[in-house]
Every structure is written in structure tokens, then in C-alpha cells.
Amino acid sequence: MRVNVDLRLKDVPGQLIGALEPVSRNDGNIVGVVHSHDKVSAGRIGVNLTFEVSSEMNLDKIMNEWTARGVDILKIDHLFETFHLEYVIVGTVSANEMKRITDGIQALGGVESLNVRYSVSSSDEKTALISGKVRSKDVIKKANHFMRERSKRSGFLMIRGFGD
């Protein structure tokens, strides 16, 4: 699941690292940190943290560690589970076709992130890894259907992930 939290830390050196450590120690993956140095209140500064964590149990551990370290948790929200979306495609895929693919997946809704990585190739044949995170398995199902149709229409080989 992906978690977004507002924390308040003591405005002294080392506090931010102290707040991030529990996340990585409990198999969390930090996605973004916004450190508000300009908003100091009662000797504390605000930090907005977004991270992914594998289970509620690990999230509880992280929160307990923050409390033990004197980190104030002001707000937790945007809790949602994310699912991995992955395709490798092989074929003569034009730049326009790739745009149609990524736009088509985005248009399904519930897509948190989408990345395309190409393999360097001297031939016309392109190989690309499309990976992303979505909010529900239903989005993966719809994306699979969309990719199947595009692969039939454009004649590329589509290798999908195992998350469905």
C-alpha cells in the first residue's frame, strides 16, 4: 500500500534521517519527501512523506518506531494498495504507437505511475519494458485487455506480468 503522512520533527540535525530509517528498516520504499524548513512551529518542522509498505503490520511497526523516537504524526491519509503493472513488448513499435499505448493505459484511470524503458537495438525491432503501479487489480485486468488488443492490431509480442 502507499501511505502519505504529515510528520513534525524537532528542528535539529539528524531528525529527518531518524524519521526515514523506520520506513526502510520495515521494508518500506520511500517515494517522496517534502521537507518544509520554512514552516517552523514550536521548534518543530513539517515533513510530508510518501512511501510504500507491504502490510498493515509493517506500517504499525513504523508508526510505533516514530512514536518512540518522539516524531509527531499529524496526519495519515491516502492509504491505498498498489499493484504492479508490467509488460515487455517486442516488435516494430513506432513512437506514435508507444504513445497510444501509454496514453491508453493512463486513460483507464487508477494509474499511479507508468514508466517505459527501452532496450538499445540496432534493428527496427524495439524491445521495451512498460512498468507502473495501479490502484486495483481491476485496472490490471483492463490494461491486459487493452494491451492484448493493441498487440493483435499492431503485431507486437506482448509479455505480461504475473500480478493478475
Partner: protein, 341 residues
């Protein structure tokens, strides 16, 4: 004492392996059932040998290897000759034909119509005419067993259909073709492009000269259809299986997958959503990320959760192992007070 007179039809690699296994395991059967399996007739594509007293399995194999045949030229079709033979079980091991399932389907129907039990390694009749032959077996109160048709020595059919009877099986996913898995594994571990990896598989005897049956996913699709029918209670043929092979999977795709901690594997899949064969991205460390020629099956059940079974998917003695286990089960059904059903 339980008698088991067998007719072997098909005397290629699998048939010879079964004859050798019958000889090798004779004492085991004698100890349990009072008698071993007696081969009363054997057929290859053109010739046959028959003896009411039983043929010597070692001699049969020696003759086949030495002379290229097993006896006299066949005067009639095999079904016609079967109708005149006295036997208990037909072991059907002719090559798979997914166009019309012949000649295997004719042999199996001849045996079942005559009230004989059947053990087969032949995927064609099962992948095309499963309902027809299973109904015929039920109507004539015959055993129809086919463990060797899927996964070679890996006991997936008997495991799922007998030992997991109280489970609701929601999916079976597996690596069902060792040739494809070998090619993909070598591309990944050695950085071999597609062509050299395929040639290596051919040189080692894993892939045929015409490899399309394996690499286009046809072999896996046959196995998917058989598992869907036998275990999930579906009514499908190989033509109902949505199929994508591994032709076209290049080294760049394998490398991109590896950078994402994934491997590409050809996966046969039977779920409540349907039946499919396709190359998939499997996380490294997942049971289905296995390398080499092994077959692996991942069965999802409601009570037991995940069950994984792996083993050698092909080979002379590996396939014979599955045939022998089916023959054993049939002999157990003949025992007084048997509770095999």
C-alpha cells in the same frame, strides 16, 4: 492374485521405456499383487509381436533396437487386431496428433468399447476428445488413466484429481514444456540470443528439428486442455486455449526483464477466467522462475493454499514412471475390497 495382461501400442522411446520398467519393477508387482504385468502383445507402427504366455520385455526392446521392428508385419489395423486379443489393459503410447487424434483415438476407443482399461501417454485424444473418451470409459466401467500425458514423471494429475479431492482448486499454473524453459533459461543465464539457445537445445536432444510444436506453445496448450478437463471439470479442447509461444522473445526482452528482477517463462494457466499459454514475467525466486528442463506446477486451493510440484517432464524412464503408477492404481482397483474410486 491379480492378473494384468497388457497390450503396448507404440514402441518408440516411451514404449521401450515402459517395457523396460515392467521388467525392472516386476518383483514389486509380484510382491504386492501375486503376479507381475504380462505383455501379451506389442505394436509399433508397422509390426507386432504377441504371445498369450507373455513376451519378454528385454527381448522386445532388443529386437526393436537391433532390427528396427518388433516382429511380424501387421496384417490388419491395430483396432481390428485388438478385437481378437485377450488382455486387461491397453497402454497407448503412439505419437500425439492434434489434427484428428489418430491413430491413438482409434486404439483407445477400441479398447474401451471392448471393456478394457486404458493407460495413455498420448496427448492428442485427451486434448481433442476428452469428454468423448471419458464418457465411453465411464459407460463401460473402464479405467482411463493418463498421468504420463502431462508433466512426464511429475504426478500432477493424480495429485490434483485424487489426493486433493476435498479442495476447491481455483488455478493451476505451470511450466509444462522443458524445451521452452531450457531455451529461456539459457538466454537468461548465458546471454545467448534466441537462435544459438534453440540450436543448443536441439543438439542436446531437448528440441526437435522442427521445434514449432514446443516453441509455439502447442505442446503446453495440449497439457492445459487436459488439466482443465481432468482437474477443473472444464469441457475444452486444445483449440480453446488462447496461445502465444516464445518465438519472438529476444535477448533484449530477457535482459530488460532481468533488470526488473524478473525472468520470462512460458506459462500454461487454467483459472476460473479461462485457459491460456503465454510467456510471462515471473519474479525471481517464485517457484515458476525455475531454470532448466524441469516441469513445475503451482496449484492454488482453498484449504491447503498453494501446492507446488516439480519433476522431470519428459524422457524414456520419466514417462514410464507415470505409466507404471497408473498401472499400479489399476491393479489396486482389481483387488478384493478395493476402495480406489
Amino acid at each position: 492374485m491379480i492378473k494384468m495382461d497388457a497390450v503396448l501400442v507404440g514402441f518408440g522411446t516411451v514404449g521401450q521405456g515402459v517395457a523396460e520398467a515392467i521388467q525392472m519393477k516386476d518383483q514389486l508387482f509380484v510382491d504386492r499383487f501375486g503376479e507381475g504385468i504380462r505383455i501379451v502383445a506389442a505394436f509399433d507402427s508397422n509390426t507386432y509381436a504377441a504371445s498369450k504366455k507373455g513376451l519378454n520385455p528385454t527381448e522386445l526392446v532388443r529386437t526393436k533396437v537391433g532390427k528396427g521392428n518388433i516382429g511380424k508385419k501387421r496384417p490388419e489395423t491395430i483396432p481390428e487386431m485388438l478385437s481378437r486379443l485377450d488382455y486387461d489393459v491397453l497402454v497407448e503410447m503412439t505419437p500425439t496428433n492434434i489434427v484428428d487424434a489418430k491413430p491413438g483415438i482409434d486404439h483407445i476407443k477400441a479398447a474401451l468399447n471392448a471393456g478394457r482399461d486404458v493407460v495413455t501417454s498420448n496427448k492428442g485424444p485427451l486434448a481433442l476428445k476428452f469428454r468423448e473418451i471419458s464418457k465411453l470409459a465411464a459407460k463401460n466401467k473402464c479405467n482411463l488413466r493418463f498421468e504420463a500425458s502431462v508433466g512426464g514423471a511429475t504426478p500432477v494429475i493424480n495429485l490434483a484429481s485424487e489426493l486433493l479431492r476435498c479442495e476447491r482448486i481455483s488455478s493451476i499454473r505451470g511450466i509444462m514444456n522443458g524445451t521452452c524453459n531450457y531455451i529461456l533459461s539459457r538466454m537468461e543465464s548465458e546471454g545467448l540470443p534466441w537462435e544459438p539457445a534453440l540450436r543448443e537445445a536441439q543438439q542436446l536432444g531437448y528440441a526437435e528439428t522442427d521445434p514449432s510444436y514446443d516453441i509455439d506453445g502447442i505442446d503446453t496448450a495440449c497439457k492445459v486442455a487436459i488439466l482443465a478437463n481432468a482437474i477443473m471439470g472444464n469441457d475444452v479442447t486444445v483449440h480453446d486455449v488462447e496461445r502465444t509461444g516464445i518465438r519472438g522473445v529476444n535477448l533484449e526482452a530477457v535482459t530488460l526483464a532481468a533488470q526488473d528482477k524478473k525472468v520470462i517463462r512460458l506459462i500454461g494457466e487454467i483459472t476460473e477466467k479461462g485457459v491460456e499459454v503465454a510467456p510471462r514475467l515471473i519474479p525471481r525466486g517464485h517457484p515458476l522462475s525455475i531454470s532448466g528442463t524441469l516441469n513445475t506446477f503451482h496449484i492454488q486451493t482453498d484449504l491447503a493454499g498453494e501446492i507446488i510440484v516439480a519433476g522431470r517432464g519428459a524422457g524414456r524412464h520419466e514417462t514410464a514412471s507415470a505409466v507404471m503408477s497408473d498401472l499400479w492404481v489399476i491393479m489396486r482397483t482389481k483387488e478384493p475390497n478395493s476402495h480406489s474410486s
